[in-house]
C-alpha cells in the first residue's frame, strides 16, 4: 500500500518538479547538466505569450460570466421546480461533457463556416464563436455544481421564508442564492479552469492574431524546445494552482468530483 502511494506521488509530482527545474536552465536547448541557472525565461515568457494569455483570460471571463448567468437559474430550476421537460433540459445542459473536445470543435467550426457561407457574417475564427464554444463547455459544470449545492440544502428554509411572508423572488434573493454561495464560487472557479486550459476544441476555433494560451504553447513547441516552454508551463500551473487553492478553501473538492 505504502509503495503504491509513493509511486503515485512520484508519478504525479516528478513532471512538475522537472518542469520547474528546467525553467531555470541557462541554455538554448535542454541539455544536462546546464551551464548555469537564470530567471530570464520568465522575463521572456510574458512578452512572448502575453497576447495569448490576455485572449485566454478574456475568453474565460466571458464564458464564466455568461455560464453563471445561464447556469445558476437553470440549476435552481432543475433542483427546485417540477416542470415538464425538466429531464430533457437537465440532459441537454450536461450533454457537452460527454462529447470529446475535438468532435465538438470540428462541429462548431463546420457550423460556423456553413452559416458564414449563407449569411456572409464572418464567424469562423471569430471571437464570438470562440467565447460561445467555451460557454458551451463551462455551462455543464456550473449547472452541475449549482444543482449539487441545492440538493444538499434543506428546502424547508425556503418554505419557512415563504410562510413568513416572503414573495418567491424575495425567497430566491435572500435565502436560496445566499445558501448557494459556496456552490456558485466553486462553479466560477471550475468554469474558469475548464476554459483556461481548453485545447482540443479551441484548436478549430482560433483565428489569426487571436490565439489562446494552450494553443500558443503548442504552436511554439512545433519549432522550439527550450526552457521558455517550461517557464510558461510553470506560470500557467501557478494560475490554475491559485484558483484550485481558493476553491479548496471554500468547498471540499472531494465532495464535488465524485
Amino acid at each position: 500500500m505504502g509503495v503504491l502511494v509513493l509511486a503515485g506521488v512520484v508519478m504525479i509530482f516528478l513532471p512538475l518538479v522537472l518542469t520547474l527545474y528546467l525553467s531555470f536552465f541557462d541554455e538554448k536547448l535542454i541539455i544536462f547538466p546546464p551551464r548555469g541557472y537564470t530567471l530570464h525565461w520568465y522575463l521572456a515568457a510574458i512578452p512572448h505569450f502575453g497576447g495569448a494569455l490576455i485572449t485566454s483570460l478574456e475568453v474565460a471571463a466571458i464564458a464564466v460570466s455568461l455560464s453563471l448567468l445561464i447556469g445558476v437559474p437553470a440549476g435552481i430550476a432543475i433542483a427546485r421546480r417540477r416542470f415538464r421537460g425538466r429531464g430533457v433540459v437537465s440532459t441537454l445542459l450536461l450533454a457537452p461533457l460527454t462529447v470529446p473536445g475535438i468532435a465538438l470543435g470540428l462541429a462548431i467550426y463546420v457550423l460556423a463556416v456553413a452559416v458564414e457561407e449563407r449569411t456572409g457574417a464572418a464567424l469562423a475564427g471569430s471571437f464570438v464563436v470562440l467565447a460561445g464554444a467555451h460557454l458551451l463547455i463551462t455551462i455543464p459544470w456550473v449547472v452541475r455544481l449549482c444543482v449539487a449545492s441545492l440538493v444538499n440544502q434543506d428546502e424547508a428554509a425556503e418554505e419557512a421564508a415563504a410562510s413568513l411572508g416572503a414573495r418567491p423572488l424575495v425567497v430566491l434573493w435572500r435565502i436560496t442564492l445566499p445558501s448557494m454561495r459556496q456552490g456558485i464560487l466553486a462553479a466560477t472557479l471550475f468554469a474558469f479552469i475548464i476554459s483556461f486550459g481548453e485545447l482540443e476544441m479551441t484548436l478549430f476555433l482560433v483565428g489569426p492574431g487571436m490565439t489562446t494560451l494552450p494553443i500558443a504553447v503548442l504552436e511554439y513547441l512545433k519549432y522550439h524546445i527550450d526552457p521558455l516552454i517550461s517557464a510558461m508551463a510553470v506560470l500557467q500551473m501557478l494560475v490554475i494552482g491559485v484558483a484550485l487553492t481558493l476553491l479548496d478553501r471554500y468547498v471540499r473538492l472531494g465532495g464535488i468530483v465524485r
Binding site: A157, E159, A160, A161, A162, S163, G165, A166
Partner: protein, 381 residues
C-alpha cells in the same frame, strides 16, 4: 361537521393525490380559536401532507380550507400569515438568530425600531437573549428549536403549525420542550395544529387529537375519547396498548377463537359473526385459577418497577398482556411462569368491533353494571 359550528379553522373534505396514491382522503376537521390540535398517525398516514396543505406548500386536489371565515385554498403560502416550525427547524443558516427572528417582520415592512423591540421580546420569551448575534449552527438543537419557535411567533401568526417539533431533540429534553410549547400556546391562546407520530407526545400536548391512517381520519377526540372509546381497533392499539383478539361472536356474548377456545364476554352484543375484541393490559385483573373468569396460564412475568407485566396464554395460541401495579412490601410477583390463572375485566374495559372495524356497543340492561367476574371460558369439547 357543519360549517356553521363556531370554528376558527375548517378543513372540509380535504383530499390530495400524488400520482396514483391517495395521500389524504376526505379529511374534515374543525378547530376552535386557541385550541391545540394534534394530527397523529404512523408515517405515510397523510398527517404531514394535511399540515402542508394548510400552510400552502401543497395544493389540495379537493376540499376547502377556511380560516376565520375566509377560504384560503388558492392562496400562496406567503399570504397566509401562518407561523410554521419545521422538523429540521429550517433556520436561515447565513443569518444571525436575531436576523432569523426579524425576517418575517421585515417582510411586513415594520419600522426598524419596532422590529428591534419585537425581536428582543421574542428572544426574551424563549430565553435566548444572549445568543442574538450567533449563527444558528453555533447553537444546540434545543436552542435552534426555540429560535424557530420565536421566528414563527414573532409575526403574530393566524395559526401556528408544528411539524414534528420534538423529533430532533434528545429524549431528556423532549418533555421539557413539550411543556414549554404547551404553556406558550395556552398563555397566548395560539390556535395550533401539530403533527407527530409519537402518541405520548400527542397525548401530552393536545386539546384534541386526530388519529389518521392511510390518508383517512380514524377518530377525532380528546385523550379520554380515544383511550376509553376508541372508534377502531387501530385507534385502540395506536393510543396506548391494547390486546386485540380475533374471533367469532355468537349467542350475544360468546367469542370463539381460531383454536376453538370460547370466551364468555362481560357485555351482551347484538349481531354475530367475525369480531375483534380489544382489552387494555391495565384493565385486566389477574386472579388465582380457582376464581371465576377466563382460565389461562402465565407464559412470561416481567418486573418493570412501577408495574408488573404478565403474559397469559388463553387456549392454544392467544396471548394477553396484563399489566398491574407492583404491590407494597416486596411481593412484586404474585404469579410465576407456568401458574394457572384466571383473567377478568370490567364491562367498560371491553371493546368489541365488528368485521368492518366499527365498534359494537353493549346492549343496555342487566349486564351494564356487571361485576368483573362475569366472563368465563368454555372449552369446546
Amino acid at each position: 361537521m357543519s360549517g356553521a359550528e363556531a370554528g376558527y379553522l375548517h378543513l372540509d373534505g380535504l383530499s390530495k393525490q400524488f400520482g396514483a396514491t391517495h395521500a389524504v382522503q376526505d379529511v374534515s376537521l374543525s378547530v376552535r380559536r386557541g385550541e391545540m390540535i394534534v394530527l397523529l398517525g404512523p408515517s405515510g398516514c397523510g398527517k404531514t401532507t394535511t399540515l402542508r396543505m394548510i400552510a400552502g406548500f401543497v395544493e389540495a386536489n379537493g376540499g376547502a380550507i377556511v380560516l376565520d371565515g375566509q377560504s384560503i385554498g388558492g392562496q400562496p403560502p406567503h399570504l397566509r400569515g401562518m407561523g410554521m416550525v419545521f422538523q429540521s427547524y429550517a433556520l436561515f443558516p447565513h443569518m444571525s438568530v436575531a436576523a432569523n427572528v426579524a425576517f418575517g417582520l421585515q417582510m411586513r415592512r415594520m419600522p426598524r425600531n419596532r422590529i428591534a423591540e419585537r425581536v428582543a421580546e421574542m428572544l426574551r420569551l424563549v430565553k435566548l437573549e444572549p445568543f442574538a448575534e450567533r449563527l444558528p449552527r453555533h447553537l444546540s438543537g434545543g436552542q435552534q428549536q426555540r429560535v424557530a419557535l420565536a421566528r414563527a411567533l414573532a409575526i403574530h401568526p393566524k395559526l401556528l403549525l408544528l411539524d414534528e417539533p420534538l423529533s430532533n431533540l434528545d429524549a431528556a429534553l423532549r418533555q421539557e420542550v413539550a411543556r414549554e410549547i404547551r404553556i406558550l400556546q395556552r398563555d397566548n391562546a395560539l390556535t395550533t395544529v401539530m403533527v407527530t407520530h409519537d402518541q405520548a407526545e400527542a397525548m401530552a400536548m393536545a386539546d384534541r387529537l386526530v388519529v389518521m391512517r392511510e390518508g383517512k381520519v380514524e377518530q377525532i377526540g380528546t385523550q379520554e375519547d380515544l383511550y376509553e372509546r376508541p372508534a377502531t381497533p387501530f385507534v385502540a392499539t395506536f393510543i396506548g396498548h391494547s390486546n386485540v383478539v380475533a374471533g367469532t361472536l355468537s349467542d350475544g356474548s360468546l367469542l370463539t377463537l381460531a383454536d376453538g377456545t370460547a370466551l364468555r364476554l362481560v357485555g351482551r352484543y347484538a349481531g354475530a359473526g367475525p369480531c375483534r375484541l380489544a382489552v387494555r393490559p391495565e384493565r385486566i385483573i389477574l386472579a388465582a385459577a380457582d376464581g371465576g373468569g377466563i382460565r389461562g396460564r402465565i407464559t412470561l412475568s416481567t418486573y418493570l418497577g412501577a408495574t408488573v407485566e404478565h403474559v397469559v396464554r388463553l387456549g392454544e395460541e392467544t396471548d394477553l398482556v396484563v399489566r398491574g401495579p407492583t404491590l407494597e412490601g416486596g411481593a412484586t410477583r404474585r404469579f410465576a411462569v407456568g401458574d394457572p390463572v384466571s383473567v377478568a375485566w370490567p364491562l367498560a374495559g371491553e371493546k368489541l368491533f365488528d368485521n368492518d372495524d366499527r365498534p359494537l356497543p353493549p346492549q343496555s340492561g342487566a349486564q351494564a353494571e356487571a361485576t368483573i367476574w362475569e366472563n368465563g371460558v368454555t372449552n369446546n369439547a
